[in-house]
């Protein structure tokens, strides 16, 4: 571009920034981006390095320094030895609580969302829009508002303080979002597809199972990531609807950090926080490619 302009004899600077100015701008841009990246990575860096230091070193060294001697002692403690209140079993049991809670809750709410979205998008029935609006409204109800009614509900159902109870709360709360995702994906599927399948002899569930679900991989991944992140990271429902043995990992992390006696074990706290955050990170890394694709996907070429 600049070559073309200078070869035609026009003063380059009058049309576009001169070459040195362009390079300077480029450098400024990258420097700025680098600074932002460092700014965001700093806490992670501090967490990782601190978790690998011994308590002695934390006390004497600098916060941002690399560990002089790498030790996984803090990780071991965080996983299986740290105390939450009177119990000293580390995060492990609570981590598994979260897994047992999150995996079924994510799958159930995603499948329900897919089924709802399919019905609302492709089977026009009286009041479909009203129901969809109501579900959409459900997405915007703050957690705090439903705490008491949900507690009463779980009590009546006899699953208060249990993992299925917590699962139930998350599934109900998640249906609004999952329905929204799937509905918006399925409205882009041409209606002739349903008609063709009906003429071919397929019924309601057959069409859903054989035609719509196989189409849904991108939006399925988006929904799973969204729901998993929500449910795994949730604290409020976890702390409200669980009891001693059934707490999810977020609640346990809070207890570990808050119930140290004597010296504050920063390395254990950091290791515990990383362990608690790892699964969501992992989900993004594994499925991130589909996440981006799913967010931009809409039209189904067929």
């Amino acid at each position: 571009m600049t070559d073309f302009i200078s070869s035609t004899g026009l003063p380059a600077a009058s049309r576009a920034p001169s070459r040195p100015a362009q390079i300077a701008l480029r450098w400024l841009l990258f420097t700025l981006l680098g600074v932002f990246a460092l700014f965001y990575l700093m806490p992670l860096f501090v967490m990782v390095t601190t978790s690998l230091k011994s308590l002695e070193e934390i006390r004497t060294g600098s916060l941002v320094a690399f560990p002089r001697e790498i030790t996984f002692e803090a990780w071991r403690t965080a996983w299986s030895g740290a105390c939450t209140g009177i119990q000293c079993e580390g995060l492990r049991p609570y981590f598994w609580n979260s897994v047992i809670l999150a995996v079924p809750a994510v799958l159930i709410s995603t499948f329900l969302g897919a089924a709802n979205g399919y019905v609302i998008a492709q089977w026009n029935f009286r009041g479909a829009n009203l129901i969809f609006s109501a579900m959409l409204f459900g997405c915007f109800i703050p957690f705090q508002v439903v705490l008491l009614p949900m507690a009463r509900m779980l009590g009546l159902m006899g699953i208060a303080g249990t993992i299925p109870g917590l699962m139930f709360a998350h599934v109900i709360y998640g249906i609004g979002f999952t329905t929204l995702f799937f509905r918006n994906f399925y409205v882009t599927v041409p209606g002739d597809l349903v008609k063709a399948a009906k003429v071919d002899g397929a019924g309601f569930f057959r069409i859903f199972w054989s035609i719509f679900l196989p189409l849904s991989l991108p939006i399925f991944v988006v929904t799973v990531i969204w729901q998993f992140t929500q449910i795994w990271n949730d604290f409020l429902f976890g702390v409200s609807f669980s009891q001693a043995g059934t707490q999810p990992v977020t609640v346990a992390l809070n207890n570990i950090v808050n119930s140290t006696t004597g010296v504050k074990e920063y390395n254990v706290d950091m290791a515990a926080a990383i362990i608690a955050a790892l699964p969501t990170l992992l989900v993004y890394v594994v499925a991130g490619k589909y996440f981006i694709r799913g967010l931009t996907a809409g039209s189904v070429k067929g």
Partner: protein, 365 residues
């Protein structure tokens, strides 16, 4: 023999809006029925009603003597080809074609045999393992046809199946559908907005407008004896000339008087002993106006006309003149000597003429 498809007094409305009004159509086994009309005339809705994909508000539909009015699409023994093809995007071509049989629990050996037959018939054998996304428009069209053919239904329904193809492919697929109809002897119902498609394919045409049937008949009947001005204008290309005229009585004879751009009005012999009203609209197809001397018949009458426009179209030459205040197109042979601005003697074949009432638009003869 009972009609294979019998539609009686079918009406459909959305609230106050009437989409279809009092439709009555019956066809026999082996018929090729084409529903034709401008967009929004309700032809696709009618097809969906026949398929059972849209509920109807009143009337009845029976297929092969069985009342199907409230029967679900899967039990109507029909197959349908859609404008968008509606192939299942995640299934291979083979799976697309066999899906219907699989759903109905046909055994795998039969499925394979039928798939093989249809694939050979439509020459899509090399495509069987591809997905719809990897096919061209014409190939998708074939697969959609295959999915219908494999079912061997009582009734084939086509919803503008060719309108997404390019012009050349459309013509070749058109003759292929016609061949298919002849070789299978199947009954087909076909929706299109293209009147040429309607003429070439149909054994019976239903012309619709605004949810009302305008005329039902064979292509020849529709073309030669249009029931009203709408049908006359819609069917045929170039369209039928519709010329405002007046009738004059001279003893036993009726004369038709048509105003010319200049000079005396043109006088044509009207039908004997008819009771035409004073004001009429005279309909004559472009091919029924020829250069004088090139058309013979006992009711051919020639008159001098000024030619405004000459449009050679290869096989024919169209010339435009002005009669009764309207542009009138005549279809002449390719080597005509017609010159724009010059006078030419045109021969009007009055045996082919249609008369319409200007106010109601209905046919008078």
């Amino acid at each position: 023999m009972d009609p294979i498809l019998n539609i009686k007094n079918l009406s459909k409305s959305y609230g106050q809006l009437e989409i279809l009004q009092e439709i009555n159509v019956a066809i026999d086994r082996g018929d090729f029925l084409v529903l034709v009309g401008p967009s929004g005339c309700g032809k696709s809705t009618l097809l969906n009603c026949i398929a059972g994909l849209e509920p109807i508000s009143a009337g009845s539909i029976s297929i092969d003597g069985r009342d199907m009015t409230h029967v679900s699409p899967k039990d109507r023994d029909i197959a349908m080809v859609f404008q968008s093809y509606a192939l299942y995007p995640t299934m291979t071509v083979a799976k697309n074609i066999t899906f219907g049989m699989k759903v109905r629990g046909v055994d795998t050996a039969t499925q394979a045999r039928k798939l093989d037959e249809v694939a050979r018939q439509l020459q899509i054998e090399p495509l069987l393992n591809r997905r719809p996304g990897q096919l061209s428009g014409g190939q998708r069209q074939r697969v959609a046809m295959g999915r219908a053919l494999v079912r061997d239904p009582k009734l084939f329904l086509f919803d503008e199946p060719l309108s997404n193809l390019d012009a050349k492919l459309r013509v070749s697929m058109r003759s292929e559908i016609k061949k298919l109809h002849q070789s299978l002897g199947a009954t087909m119902v076909y929706v299109t907005h293209d009147q040429i498609e309607a003429m070439t394919l149909a054994t019976k045409i239903v012309v619709m407008k605004g949810g009302i049937v305008q005329q039902i008949g064979t292509p020849a009947e529709i073309y030669n004896h249009p029931a009203n001005l709408f049908v006359a204008d819609f069917m045929g290309s170039p369209a039928m000339n519709l010329i405002p005229a007046r009738t004059r009585r001279k003893g036993q004879e009726t004369l038709i008087e048509i105003a010319r751009a200049e000079g005396d009005p043109m006088l044509l012999a009207g039908p004997d002993g008819s009771d035409l009203p004073q004001d009429i609209i005279l309909g004559l197809r472009p091919e029924d106006i020829a250069e004088a001397g090139f058309r013979s018949g006992d009711r051919v009458q020639a008159a001098q006309c000024r030619i405004d426009l000459v449009e050679p179209a290869g096989a024919d030459t169209y010339v435009v003149s002005q009669l009764g205040g309207r542009q009138v197109t005549a279809r002449l042979h390719a080597e005509t000597k017609a010159q724009p601005g010059a006078m030419l003697e045109l021969a009007f074949d009055l045996a082919k003429v249609s008369y319409f009432a200007p106010d109601t638009g209905e046919r008078l003869n």
